[in-house]
């Protein structure tokens, strides 16, 4: 970890608006006095909470200077070995995909447009194998008599605490124009993470979202840097990679969505740059696949350190509603993926990981809607199987873009993916009555194939409904 010296801290302090506000306040406090001692200032600062504010500001600067290390090893050994297995499995899939593309080249008539290394169902199926393994090998004495798909011994937050955390969303009021304008100004002037998070938790007005995200990721004065970086990556795109082909197929799918077909080219460009971006490996918060080096170049992991998966385009799509500049879209996507979405593909015991989120959902549904949980089990369509798509892809494609961006706000606001747990529970509750009538998997599929419109606020409300 890199330490900042006092001079550097002062420099950073001076770049924040709050520092100058504090200074102004002190000046005002002593406007009529001629001689001012250090003690006087200290006393004054203590009396009107300026000291606290300064401490907060400095600790924030120090916190920022710390670089978050990429998580490579999990505290639970079992998950480390699982990750290696998962990686091996993906390499096998890669071989198959390779084989298929070769066959296709020879035989043009048989084009399989659905080529991908893995999708959310593969991921869930892999997670499901844990229960068996763990109970056999490690916890032979403990009896797991549960209907849950996933019941693994990892540290887990209580589901009640998650429910409590987001309950405030139910009490959201409609804001007056005046208040919205106030928030706008606040976003423009604010630089502190904590404050930006607070805004994101409550309400981000349309039109200001991009600025808030950029500020939060500290990109707000780096337009040219971002652009240069992007242009460089674009030049690299001229060298074709095998993965480009997979991304193109993936991008084709996003074009089915009315909201996003316009952006298909931009999304593809972003992704092609993404798999060539060397900085991702350092910035990503968790290592997704344990690297095994293969001899043949074609069979190696991309520079990012993980395989592109099915529907990766979905994560980019809603961000196209934020900016017309492609390098901004790319920068936001990269940051969102490295900070948050990577956890949705990580075999880990981290509280944000797909494993934890899935277990939270199972826990909440099985305790709060046991009837539904049991019914789904009986008809062979487990709870998690139902919502895994929505969970892994953040409801993108299920809700209109503004609602998706509200989810993104919440993710930033709490620096956590837990909002997805709430939404998944709400989603199940919303269709509960219909699901209870379903007799088999086809019925269930039919329910979701009907035209439906889910909204953020609505799902939150359903989540808290008993």
């Amino acid at each position: 970890m890199q330490q900042l010296d006092n001079q550097e801290i002062l420099m950073k302090l001076k770049s924040s608006k709050q520092f100058w506000d504090i200074k102004k306040k002190i000046k005002q406090g002593f406007s009529d006095q001629q001689k001012i001692g250090v003690n006087d200032i200290q006393k004054f600062a203590q009396s009107c909470e300026i000291e606290d504010q300064l401490i907060k500001l400095i600790s924030h600067i120090l916190k920022k200077s710390k670089k978050r290390e990429t998580l490579k090893e999990d505290q639970i050994e079992f998950l480390n070995t699982s990750k290696i297995k998962w990686t091996e499995l993906l390499f096998k899939n890669l071989d198959i995909v390779h084989q298929k593309t070769k066959n296709q080249e020879e035989d043009d008539t048989n084009t399989d447009s659905k080529l991908y290394i893995y999708d959310e169902k593969n991921l869930l199926a892999f997670l499901q194998t844990f229960k068996q393994q763990q109970s056999n090998n490690l916890y032979q004495n403990v009896q797991f008599q549960s209907n849950k798909i996933l019941n693994i011994n990892i540290p887990l937050k209580s589901s009640q605490s998650i429910l409590d955390k987001y309950q405030y969303l139910l009490l959201q009021e409609e804001l007056s124009d005046e208040k919205i304008n106030k928030i706008r100004k606040q976003i423009e002037n604010e630089h502190l993470d904590i404050e930006l998070e607070k805004i994101a938790q409550t309400f981000v007005p349309n039109g200001e979202r991009c600025l808030l995200y950029l500020k939060y990721f500290e990109f707000d004065h780096q337009d040219t840097v971002l652009q240069q970086h992007f242009v460089k990556l674009q030049k690299e795109c001229l060298n074709q990679l095998f993965y480009d082909e997979l991304l193109e197929i993936d991008g084709h799918e996003i074009s089915e969505d009315t909201f996003y077909f316009v952006f298909q080219e931009q999304i593809l460009t972003c992704l092609k740059c993404f798999i060539r971006d060397r900085t991702i490996k350092e910035n990503i918060r968790i290592q997704l696949q344990s690297g095994i080096k293969k001899e043949h170049a074609e069979f190696q992991l991309p520079i990012t350190g993980f395989f592109p998966f099915k529907n990766i385009s979905k994560y980019v799509a809603p961000l196209c509603y934020l900016s017309t500049k492609i390098h901004i879209i790319y920068a936001l996507f990269k940051e969102f993926f490295c900070r948050y979405f990577c956890f949705l593909h990580a075999i880990s015991s981290e509280s944000n990981s797909i494993l934890s989120l899935c277990m939270q959902i199972e826990e909440i549904v099985s305790t709060r809607s046991p009837k539904l949980f049991h019914h789904l089990k009986v008809i062979g369509c487990d709870t998690l199987k139902l919502i895994i798509h929505q969970l892994v892809y953040c409801f993108i494609g299920d809700m209109d873009p503004p609602h998706i961006l509200t989810i993104y706000d919440q993710i930033i606001g709490h620096d956590s993916l837990e909002i997805l747990v709430i939404l998944c529970v709400g989603f199940l509750n919303k269709y509960k009555s219909k699901l209870l009538l379903a007799k088999n998997q086809e019925n269930v599929q039919q329910i979701f194939s009907e035209l439906r419109e889910d909204r953020f606020q609505e799902l939150v409300q359903y989540a808290y409904k008993q």
Binding site: Q167, E174, N206, Q234, G251, V262, E265, T324, E458, K465
Partner: protein, 570 residues
């Protein structure tokens, strides 16, 4: 028993006849109304090609009930050069009258010259522009009287048109001389997904005296692949997407036609720019359209037989300022997708309702189907407390709205019918005749509610209801996803209802606040569910074809009215 011979009755004939040479959505829309096609001159409505108007209309005498889809000299607005000429003239007139402010509003068309007649002035302006700015100004050449982008090209060097100039076409004396207009190219169009787009918006004019305009809520944005040279593009961003055109991209065009409906566009703009800015833009678009027609109001020959459905092509620049590109007198009614097909059939169906061949409307309706009345003599201003500045791009609730109109119309007609009945009784002699009439009256009053049931109301007091319903208000109750304020309301309004209850709940039982069942909550939810169901229905219905004839009849209440009355007659 053919006693009911009210004058109204004649007009209720469902034997309306139409004539058209089109074989696309227009024919389908006519057929859906169960009107009959005719080849002869006994049509009630004719959807003609522009050429027919020029060739035939002047030599034909129209019956009082006949309606035709063009004004005689519509080209004053729809031919590129004349439109600009009229705008310029109107602007000058306004300035002369001292209405400088209004004149300044006529800034929605780019600097334009007519070629070859204004060639010298153009060259002067061209030189002036290129010396004033560092980057070369691009100009666009459009042949007059050609549509669908035929013959259009862009240039930024005067040499680039020298070749064109030297051909026969330029020579003014040459009978083959082809007239062009040259316009300053809008250099910074708004790009979405790196693509340029323009909007097609539909405006119906039923009369120029007083100027009566209806604006359709749904239109679409058409995304284009860039046709022009890379040289013309100063913006690298545009260039970038140009290179990246994939072979796959052709497929979407087939599937979705490369279009967004106006609602989706509005949603995008609102997400990016915020509500106020977008509301302002859409209001400016509406005003642009009204001003365009005001400019030619005195020039167009008004005719009660004529109506016209204009297709406005509007471009937004990067500052969201709307620019008028063109006005089409015969916007394409050919569709390439099912969604497009339903949009156009719905649009035409509403046009037919507004021109009111059945003569059942009061003329006071503020909204008919997806059309909103935006001008009647003067532009209509929405109430100050309204959340909308324009309904353009708002949720198109045409189905529900048509039901509402059908209902109120049915009630009103039933009332008129009853009144005439009572009159007949008063006038009629005593004795047997009276008895007969009484029977009749009873029968007719029993029909009244039936007609009303059709609108979902079985109330037996048509008189009271009629008063309430004569002026049909806009149906704004059901505006889910896309109203101006809606994003906010969707996300924020709902919890408000819930919030109070939740708070109550919390107070009631602090220990297990979220677990205890709240009796209020059920009712709240059912209301919510209903609302949602409604919205869902409306969404589904929005562009669904009428599956059954009965459904169609229900939607088009007038048809039902006429049938009911006919039954009565028999």
């Amino acid at each position: 028993m053919l006693i009911i011979s009210i004058s109204l009755q004649q007009n209720y004939s469902s034997n309306l006849k139409f004539k058209t040479s089109f074989r696309n959505c227009i024919l389908e829309a006519f057929k859906r109304r169960l009107w009959k096609e005719t080849e002869g001159d006994d049509w009630d409505i004719m959807w003609a090609e522009k050429e027919w108007i020029h060739e035939v209309l002047d030599h034909t005498h129209l019956q009082s009930n006949q309606k035709i889809n063009h004004f005689r000299n519509h080209y004053e607005l729809t031919r590129k050069d004349l439109m600009i000429k009229n705008f310029k003239r109107y602007k000058k007139n306004l300035e002369r009258e001292g209405k400088q402010e209004e004149a300044n509003n006529y800034n929605f068309f780019p600097l334009t010259f007519h070629l070859p007649s204004e060639y010298p002035i153009f060259v002067e302006e061209f030189k002036r522009q290129s010396t004033n700015s560092d980057t070369k100004t691009a100009w666009i050449m459009k042949p007059i009287g050609k549509s669908q982008g035929k013959g259009i090209f862009i240039f930024n060097k005067i040499q680039q048109i020298s070749q064109w100039k030297n051909t026969l076409r330029y020579n003014q004396d040459n009978p083959q001389a082809e007239a062009y207009i040259v316009q300053k190219y809008i250099a910074d169009p708004l790009l979405i997904g790196g693509k340029k787009f323009d909007m097609r918006i539909y405006l119906l004019c039923t009369s120029y005296q007083p100027l009566t305009l209806y604006l359709y809520r749904t239109g679409f944005a058409r995304f284009t692949h860039h046709r022009y040279d890379s040289e013309d593009i100063s913006n690298t961003y545009v260039h970038l997407t140009n290179v990246a055109i994939q072979k796959t991209s052709d497929n979407y065009d087939e599937k979705l036609g490369g279009k967004w409906n106006l609602q989706t566009l509005k949603l995008y703009l609102m997400t990016k720019y915020g509500q106020e800015k977008v509301a302002e833009t859409f209001y400016n678009i509406q005003m642009l359209m009204i001003r365009s027609l005001q400019a030619v109001q005195k020039i167009i020959i008004n005719d009660k037989h004529c109506f016209e459905l204009y297709g406005f092509d509007i471009l937004l620049d990067a500052q969201l300022k709307p620019w008028l590109l063109e006005v089409n007198a015969s916007p394409s009614m050919t569709s390439n997708t099912p969604v497009d097909f339903e949009l156009k059939c719905g649009l035409l169906d509403d046009v037919f309702t507004i021109i009111d061949l059945e003569k059942v409307l009061t003329g006071n309706e503020e909204q008919i189907g997806g059309f909103d009345l935006i001008c009647k003599g003067n532009p209509i201003k929405l109430p100050i407390n309204s959340t909308f500045t324009t309904y353009l791009g708002a949720f198109n609730n045409r189905q529900q709205q048509l039901k509402k109109i059908a209902k109120s119309t049915a009630i009103r007609l039933a009332q008129t019918y009853q009144e005439s009945q009572t009159k007949a009784i008063e006038i009629g002699s005593k004795g047997q005749k009276e008895k007969e009439e009484k029977d009749k009256q009873m029968r007719s009053s029993s029909k009244g509610p039936q007609v009303m049931q059709n609108g979902g109301n079985g109330n037996n007091k048509p008189n009271n209801l009629t008063k309430q319903n004569t002026i049909i208000k806009r149906n704004t109750t059901n505006l889910p996803a896309l109203g101006t304020v809606q994003n906010k309301s969707n996300i924020k309004r709902q919890p408000l209802q819930n919030a109070g209850q939740q708070q109550q709940q919390n107070q009631q039982s602090q220990s297990n606040s979220s677990k205890k069942n709240n009796p209020n909550e059920d009712s709240m939810l059912s209301a919510n569910q209903k609302l949602q169901k409604l919205t869902q229905e409306s969404k589904i219905n929005q562009f669904q074809p009428y599956k059954q004839q009965s459904q169609y009849n229900e939607v088009m209440g007038m048809g039902v009215v006429s049938r009911n009355l006919q039954k009565n007659e028999e």
